[in-house]
Point group: C2
Chain length 254, copies 2
């Protein structure tokens, strides 16, 4: 029975997509059947796997709206055991359409995740930088949340809003939802700022913070331009080793 994990944080550019693409790749490489769902209309996780955005390719939007069956929009990737449900540009309009629908918070769960959960060991959801209806759908469809936190000052500001939203979803829509873990990203050893942010995050989240810290590493930013996860682009880079270790921690926690 697939464990569904959403990677969420409404602060932009903190490493949500980079975490989904690279953790999913390492977990699939360990033999676990893995699915990535791209809930962000920018489609960055598709291109992280080298799948070009085609404006008219059906994707998550069509499944959410019941136009296509979920089986029809699942795509393979070049990584064994790893499939992806791509987003497309229509997803950005879905927010407004969903607002008027009944059970609007459950669309992703009922139309997509519940229908495929048994075929995968892990399902990772990449979310957009917002706490709107799409991200709410992702939280309702998930068993747990991984929160990436960039080691910079602005990234601390939105955390209380994110935790409030997680709690509201937990109390009203998905009682089983829990925080899987908090991962510190883009840690820069040259500055004091990263260390200060790390200390604040550990003081607040305590054991929930993964021991693995993801360093700022330019190879991680270069890999998507070659359409490859870091494991295929530069497996011996600091970025790759840190995402490998993070994947092991996630698997260990079960």
């Amino acid at each position: 029975m697939g464990k569904t994990i959403i990677v969420a944080n409404q602060k932009g550019g903190v490493g949500k997509t980079t975490t989904v693409v690279n953790v999913a790749t390492y977990i699939a490489s360990e033999g676990y059947k893995t699915l990535v769902i791209d809930l962000d209309s920018q489609g960055n996780s598709c291109s992280g796997f080298g799948i070009e955005r085609e404006e008219n390719r059906e994707g998550l939007y069509e499944a959410l709206m019941g136009i296509k069956k979920v089986e029809e929009i699942i795509n393979p990737t070049e990584i064994k055991n790893l499939h992806i449900i791509p987003s497309n540009i229509h997803l950005s309009g879905a927010q407004v359409e969903l607002v008027e629908m009944k059970r609007r918070e459950y669309k992703l769960k009922e139309e997509v995740v519940d229908r495929v959960k048994n075929e995968y060991d892990y399902i990772f959801i990449d979310s957009p930088p917002s706490l709107g209806l799409l991200t709410i759908n992702g939280l309702v469809a998930s068993d747990s949340v991984i929160i990436p936190i960039q080691c910079e000052y602005y990234a601390l500001e939105g955390l209380s809003q994110l935790l409030k939203t997680i709690n509201i979803v937990k109390h009203r829509l998905n009682p089983a939802l829990k925080i899987e873990g908090v991962v510190l990203t883009m840690y820069d050893t040259r500055t004091n700022l990263s260390k200060q942010v790390m200390e604040e995050v550990i003081a607040y989240f305590k054991k929930k913070v993964y021991k693995t810290i993801i360093p700022r590493n330019v190879k991680l930013a270069e890999a998507p331009s070659f359409g490859k996860p870091i494991k295929l682009y530069d497996p011996n880079s600091l970025g790759a080793i840190s995402y490998y270790k993070l994947s092991q921690e996630i698997l260990k926690n079960g």
Copy 2:
């Protein structure tokens, strides 16, 4: 008559807030009366000026909904000639409330910007990482758009969606809207990636790209943790000099 400029890009973490805070500071320091409007419920531009987020302080939400007059929510900052209209957490709920209202795309323009435009020379709007109704309100209320583009691969992907949205707003809601300029941010001289992205952006936007390129500079990331724009935190840093030069270019273009 105030020139209203929105800084927008739905890609997260590309330097929207950093650009608003620092350009507004340099322009105010030249003697121009300047207003910053924080349209992002995370409130990062407030904290960039050292204004702590208070959950219950009235802000932009109350003015948009007609609960408070705009004059009642304008705050001074420690920079001469610079005022700010703060956001607050209620702003994230405003999207859903606005959807049901008449002239929902004009709320920011009619309730806020048109009422204060004559008192400022420049008005800068910091927008959230999305193309939802709040950003649309920002585009409708503005004379022009500054697009910050991070010099990394994923940042290129959303550009066509952003330009489409700007064109739709221009044709249907705000015919005067134009692109003020495109600014390359977080340029890292150590990698090829930045150079490749720069070349693609210049090939596409041509003369609209500012000559000033903002380098990746840790001082820019440190300044907000002291609640200060870069001009006050470290005026001789590369980050400060580049934002000073950018402000001069913006002023020159008139």
